[in-house]
């Protein structure tokens, strides 16, 4: 072989490597926002029983540009919705003439909530995610109408409340009152739904790091939610994302706020125990 053909052969191998096998690994970048590091890789909690060897935030699976947008709150379009959330936090609504601020003072009073929800209310046995708390306040304490699951007012408020816990490590309880809900969510996670017979685990546990067409499969963690999706130009909640994933298996989806999705949200959140709440993240 002449020098020239050797170079050509090497170039060809490099090309094939890129086209077929390359870029499978997620990035190993450090997420720093406003000078503080947000943990995007962590050791799995014991309850995962070795299902994942390392927890990795969805942020690491996105491309360089998308990661950069999330590093700067001025570039992060999700932050605009946080501002709208502040307005609505302070606006009285409903027959009692109250706003969130009437009872809770500033939004910083919500610090820590995002890291421990969904959780099971010991008294009622109900799964409470942030949406359920918001609508509980609206209907029982403000005399206002519940917000729809995908209403902008709802996702704005989710963004504002989540941001208060930015950097805190997800720590969703899986024992006690949560134990049966955790078991139900786990069952759903491993069930192969729809005509394509795919479970959450098929894509996010067995194949994270692989590409499905042009999509780089992540672990499907929820620590980043709500997420600003560049292709939709709006915020999506965790359960909103589940709807899309189940639909893509040619299955009948569950409804947002259903017992099934509440259990699944608790279970999936607990798979991320140890990763940090990102506040409002950016995905493609």
């Amino acid at each position: 072989m002449t020098q020239r053909t050797i170079t050509a052969a090497l170039a060809a191998t490099a090309f094939l490597g890129f086209a077929f096998a390359g870029h499978a690994e997620p990035a190993n970048d450090t997420l720093i926002i406003d000078g503080s590091e947000i943990i995007t890789r962590a050791a799995p909690a014991a309850h995962l029983d070795g299902a994942l060897t390392e927890l990795i935030s969805g942020w690491q699976f996105r491309d360089t540009e998308t990661r950069a947008i999330q590093m700067d709150d001025f570039d992060n379009p999700g932050m605009i919705f946080v501002d709208r959330g502040i307005d609505s936090w302070n606006t009285a609504d409903g027959t009692d003439g109250k706003s969130c601020a009437s009872c809770h003072e500033g939004p910083e009073s919500m610090k820590g909530l995002r890291a421990v929800t969904p959780r099971v209310d010991a008294k009622s046995g109900k799964v409470m995610n942030i949406e359920s708390y918001i609508n509980d306040c609206r209907t029982t304490r403000m005399g206002a109408e519940a917000w729809g699951d995908k209403a902008e007012a709802m996702t704005d408020m989710l963004a504002l409340i989540s941001l208060q816990s930015r950097g805190e490590l997800v720590n969703v309880a899986v024992d006690g009152a949560a134990a049966p809900i955790y078991a139900q969510g786990k069952e759903i996670y491993y069930t192969r739904y729809g005509q394509l017979e795919l479970s959450c685990a098929n894509c996010h546990e067995d194949n994270n790091g692989n590409y499905i067409r042009s999509d780089h499969l992540s672990q499907g963690q929820t620590n980043g939610f709500p997420v600003y999706r560049l292709k939709d130009a709006k915020l999506t909640s965790a359960q909103g994302r589940f709807v899309g994933c189940v639909r893509d298996t040619r299955a009948e989806t569950f409804k947002i706020g259903s017992d099934e999705f509440n259990a699944l949200e608790l279970y999936v959140a607990s798979r991320g125990n140890g990763l940090a709440v990102e506040g409002v993240s950016v995905r493609n």
Partner: protein
């Protein structure tokens, strides 16, 4: 006139014959994962098969598989193995079985079954997220399976 009617009857009998030769999804006979008989009763067209392979609403095989021969189809996935030399490794009957129901060859594989209509958990109405009623239409028609098999038969190294 009589003659024309007779010819007409022969033609419809012929058509009915062709329809019978199609193997219904419930009737596919697998032998160790392989399916000997053409599902449509006709030969496959590799060019149509390439469309099935590449199109998201059809086989969308490229979502999971890459190969040298398919490199003009952008962004192949990496969930499944690369298919270079598939026709050297597998017979036509085996490839037909793999596309119709890969779980007959690879137990529990993530690869979907493309010619199957029932036995699902929460089956949907295609990609609408709404409930579907079994038997569902198979993801690919008998002829589309034959077409993609004919295309796979060109994957030689």
């Amino acid at each position: 006139m009589m003659r024309q009617i007779l010819i007409g009857m022969t033609v419809s009998a012929f058509c009915a014959g062709a329809a019978v030769a199609q193997v219904a999804p419930e009737a596919v006979a697998f032998t160790e994962g392989a399916v000997e008989q053409s599902l449509s009763g006709a030969a496959g067209n590799p060019e149509e098969g390439k469309k099935v392979f590449a199109t998201a609403g059809l086989g969308n095989c490229v979502a999971c598989h890459a190969a040298e021969i398919t490199k003009d189809i952008p962004f192949p996935g990496t969930v499944g193995p690369t298919l270079d030399g598939a026709a050297d490794r597998w017979s036509e009957a085996q490839l037909r079985g793999l596309v119709a129901n890969a779980k007959m060859t690879f137990d529990g594989t993530i690869m979907p079954s493309f010619y199957k209509t029932s036995g699902y958990i929460r089956p949907g109405d295609a990609y609408t997220g709404k409930a579907g009623t079994e038997p569902l239409p198979p993801v690919l028609s008998a002829q589309q399976v034959e077409d993609v098999v004919a295309y796979l038969m060109t994957f030689k190294e």
